[in-house]
Amino acid sequence: MKDLIQINGVKKVYQSKAGPIHALGPIDLNIREGEFISIVGPSGCGKSTLLLLVGGLLEYEAGQIFINGNLVNKPQTDIGIVFQTPVLVDWRDVLGNVLLQIEMRGLKKEVYIEKARNLLRSVGLAEFEKRYPFELSGGMQQRAAFCRALIHDPPLVLMDEPLGALDAITREQLRVDLEQLWLLTKKTVLFVTHSIPESVQLSDRVVVFTPRPGQIAEIIEIDLPRPRTIAVRESAAFQQYIHQLTSIFMNFGILRDTVSTNQQKAVVGEE
């Protein structure tokens, strides 16, 4: 399949009061069309930064990003975005929130109502279109946010830890729903997560970042059948991928089994 996104030598340095912070890169990465690609890495390594760079929502210092061969140098509109929080507006019901995407684009609302309803149905919100965000659980709000990111049929969806703020069970369910949505729509998804199992369950490829400044440590192809049912998730192959990713994390010192003696001392407060 052809590449939708090309990231060539991209670097991001934030200017902060304490001086420049080299947050990311250089990164070289090509993302294929229709691919579900995850980025995992330690906190603060620049995952969100990369996502925003691809969306044209941040400026970068070096390198180039192309989407469909076009240089990214302003906010991209051919995308859908989902954040860790649903970012719905309080004054619109669920259907209205999904259609906000359409209205903001100056498109005809009437044309999209049916589609919005279908999307809501596919994530189990059919009966909740008239409800306001405060009447919904966090998981339901996040489902509505998925619909809002998909209603205009963008070829690319950016997701920044979209399941990160949910409880374990809701999260488990939403992973399944998300894969289902992706199988239906076949969009290119750039997905940031903290969870190794989540990345294995959802992705075609998992990109592991080093600690800040984030660089690509390794890219793992996940060659597992879809949909990734419980049977697949309990398979030896699935566990093998998790094991593989975990050891990469351990090699970087991001994960460890025991606290080292020095750190134990620091925690206890001894010199």
Binding site: L57, G80, I81, F83, V89, R92, M104, Y132, F134, E135
Partner: protein, 279 residues
């Protein structure tokens, strides 16, 4: 009897049903107020509190009725000062809050200045305004304007700058123009905070009018209170205070009514005045 009354009420429908609904919701509040007023009346009688310290409720009502013509005349004067000052504060404060929120230059220059000015006790200017503008309408209106303006401006700025970074990113990704983004997102998002400011201003408005009339007035309820207390007519003073309270409440409820209309979706609107959760 019971069957009769129940059929009448069901036929009368709408208005009575909603009135009864309101009453049943407000019942505890009303009972409390009645209880409080009764306690006042009795306490004054039982403890023989002198009239010039705390008048009884009945004597206040008597004074209110007896002097109603003048009280009403002064109510119109004070009400006019309050309303004009408030409306001008809204008319200038809201657009200025918007400008300040969206202009980096104003945020860096005007905003800190406005925060500092907010700390200035505006009432302290009343004597100055009297020397500048005389005893009439203008100095009072200016004081009302000043005590209303800052809560509106500062809460307005807060409201217009309260969008989360994620919301801004989402908006940008839709390619919406600044104008469309303003109407669809920034303005509605700013309303709850803006109304906090408007309600604060409504509370301040009558206070500003009253005090400015004390300091240099020849008419109005504030002026009248001074006359009444000067003659140790506490019952009249209380009658005027009740009128002032009613005036303040009226302005406050108008703002609240508009708020209810404009942001029924907001958390603040989900708890009714009587403290019962509606949802």
């Amino acid at each position: 009897m019971t069957s009769l009354s129940s059929t009448t009420s069901s036929k009368a429908g709408g208005i009575f049903a909603s009135l009864r609904g309101w009453f049943s919701e407000a019942r505890n509040t009303i009972l409390f107020v009645i209880g409080f007023l009764l306690f006042w009346e009795l306490a004054v009688i039982v403890f023989r509190i002198p009239r010039y310290i705390l008048p009884s409720l009945s004597s206040i009502i008597r004074q209110f009725v007896r002097n109603f013509d003048l009280i009403w005349e002064y109510t119109l004067i004070t009400g006019y000062e309050t309303l004009v000052g408030f409306v001008i504060a809204v008319a200038i404060g809201v657009p200025l809050a918007m400008l300040t929120a969206f202009s980096r230059i104003l945020r860096q220059t005007f905003y800190p200045f406005a925060v500092a000015l907010e700390m200035v006790p505006k009432i302290a200017f009343a004597p100055l305004f009297v020397t500048w503008f005389g005893f009439g309408f203008i100095p009072k209106m200016i004081i009302v304007f000043l005590v209303c303006f800052f809560p509106i401006l500062l809460n307005g700025i807060l409201g217009f700058t309260s969008l989360s970074q994620e919301m801004v990113y989402f908006s940008r990704s839709t390619g919406a123009s600044q104008l469309r983004m303003f109407w669809k997102i920034r303005l509605p998002a700013a309303l709850p905070e803006l109304f906090v400011g408007l309600k604060g201003a409504a509370v301040n408005a009558t206070v500003g009018a009253t005090i400015s009339e004390w300091i240099g007035g020849d008419a109005g309820l504030g002026y009248y209170i001074q006359i009444a207390t000067g003659q140790l007519r506490m019952d009249l003073a209380f009658a005027i205070i009740f009128m002032l309270t009613a005036l303040g409440l009226l302005l406050f409820y108008i703002v609240q009514l508009v708020e209810k209309r404009m942001i029924p979706w907001h958390v603040s609107q989900r708890v009714s005045v009587f403290g019962k959760r509606e949802i």
